[in-house]
Symmetry: C2
DNA sequence: CTGTTAGCGCATTCAG
DNA sequence: CTGAATGCGCTAACAG
């Protein structure tokens, strides 16, 4: 399990036939239009420096907004940059700074799931919004089990990114492990399962579940059912726990022995279809099985 | 319009306060866990070479699957790679090869739109699928007008990518211009408007629209209405053109003068809501205006 | 087949 | 404040 991983790494890091084709096409196309535009080589810091009559170091300083540059020099460099259309070479910069200048949004879910659930749209929107005026790039990496999971891992390990935001973490994905090994700074959206030391943002899921139970109970309901979220995700598990807590505190038993055929809980996956499907099976059967209620408060 | 662009380039390419904060957080976190794991510096090709008892060049060759390496040496290097857990430094490689090893999927649409429309999910899925065993990374860049459009442009110009796949191109986005200037290899999904030389894949939209008209006409329908796609996208425009051609060939006039209050065409945006909304306005008013039919075939 | 030699473009000490 | 020098890690000729 460890050795094959390394072997795979090696292969993946090399040029495959697939990329070969891509490259050829790339060259061909590039060549096709290259006659129409000028500039064979992109201007470098060296060019800028020469044009501004300063050294590379000084040019670098103004590009990076280092304060210790005389206004005169600063202006000269700025002008040169504008005239030459200079853009720093990211690879070169990255090589020396050891930073990729990008942050990955990791979603361990199948692609169609990510695109189908409005939750992710909102989350992505918020994240990109927040990073709108940051120079850092936002990269979306998604996939689950075969369908992109190893791609994510490769991405995280490949040094493509400076940090990660993990959005829909499941207990069984290896994201946490990868993050720990690569020592990548990361934050989870939703408390991570089995990764106690990692920072995260989340709502109080437990309180939410409990609140739901209390609300229904306050309305006089006594036979309460819930469609829970996936139990391999802490939000799903925490909410269910809160729900049960709420029932228990109200003295409503969830014990199958206690007159109910079984606890009125079905586990969904945060999507609508399964909820509807399960309902018709579980609730009906439960409803038709016994009418007895648990003891009052 | 040109000068400000350059000025903007400079600013964007430099470290802003935003990234500054990100960096600090990054360092802090990294430092926090750095005591728990070994390896201060990632192994380099140099290390691998030394360990395998060969030169850096040879090590590089086997990593890149260059055939001209003796099996013995190859194995030695492979072993060293595995033992050291070597992973090529992308920045360094990129610096010399001048390739980013990634391809961008550009979607000039608002994020919520992209995540809401199943079309994009399918498209993205297909693309990543096709590139699954390619070493190239797939990056998703989306946004339209303010909400990410300039981010896309910056991305394309930043040398982050080797090529682009443009998915939902509108006539007014600047993608084509950027692509031309950067000479990035690109392919459009859907014939690009105003960019005749760029390669694309598409269905025969014109024939589709015509087919629809012919089908309805064959069924004996005579007052035909259509909800067209956005007219600033060639698929939308082409389909409508085909539709009109179909009507014309059947001798069905679309001329308002010809007894109809106006042509029964409403322009939507490839989503369901506008279609429903417009229908109730247009169709009803058209229906109540005149009952006369165009001349028969 | 393999090692040696050069840079790729940039940030960064370290002296002035 | 500024410039000269150094090296990040890697690929690509160019000789052996």
């Amino acid at each position: 399990m460890a050795a094959p991983d390394e072997g795979q790494s090696l292969e993946e890091s090399t040029v495959s036939p697939g990329l070969g084709r891509f490259k050829r096409a790339s060259r061909g196309y590039r060549g096709h239009v290259s006659r129409e535009t000028r500039s064979r080589r992109a201007p470098t810091l060296e060019d800028v420096a020469a044009r501004a009559g300063v050294s590379r170091a000084t040019a670098s300083r103004v590009v990076n907004e280092d304060p210790r540059v005389r206004p005169r020099a600063r202006e000269a460099v700025a002008a040169a940059v504008a005239e030459l259309g200079y853009r720093p070479n990211r690879a070169a910069r990255s090589l020396v700074t050891r930073e990729a200048d990008s942050i990955a949004v990791v979603v361990p879910e199948a692609e169609d799931r990510v695109f189908g659930d409005p939750f992710f749209a909102a989350m992505l929107g918020g994240i990109t919004q927040a990073l709108a005026d940051s120079p850092a790039q936002v990269l979306l990496a998604m996939g689950r089990r075969g369908q992109g999971a190893e791609k994510i891992e490769k991405y995280l390990r490949g040094g493509y990114t400076d940090g990660a935001i993990v959005v829909s973490h499941h207990r069984d994905d290896r994201i946490g492990e990868v993050l720990r090994e690569t020592q990548l700074p990361a934050v989870y959206v939703g408390r991570p399962a089995g990764e106690p030391r990692l920072p995260f943002v989340d709502v109080d899921n437990h309180a939410g579940g409990r609140l739901a139970a209390e609300h229904l109970i306050a309305q006089g309901r006594r036979r309460l059912a819930t469609i829970a979220g996936p139990q391999d995700m802490t939000p799903g598990a925490d909410r269910l726990a809160g729900w049960r807590k709420g029932l228990a505190e109200a003295g409503i038993s969830t014990d199958p022995q206690d007159g109910l055929m079984h606890e009125l809980v079905e586990v969904g996956d945060f999507t609508a279809p399964p909820a509807g499907r399960r309902c018709s099976v579980c609730w009906l059967s439960a409803r038709s099985s016994t009418g007895s209620s648990p003891p009052p408060t």
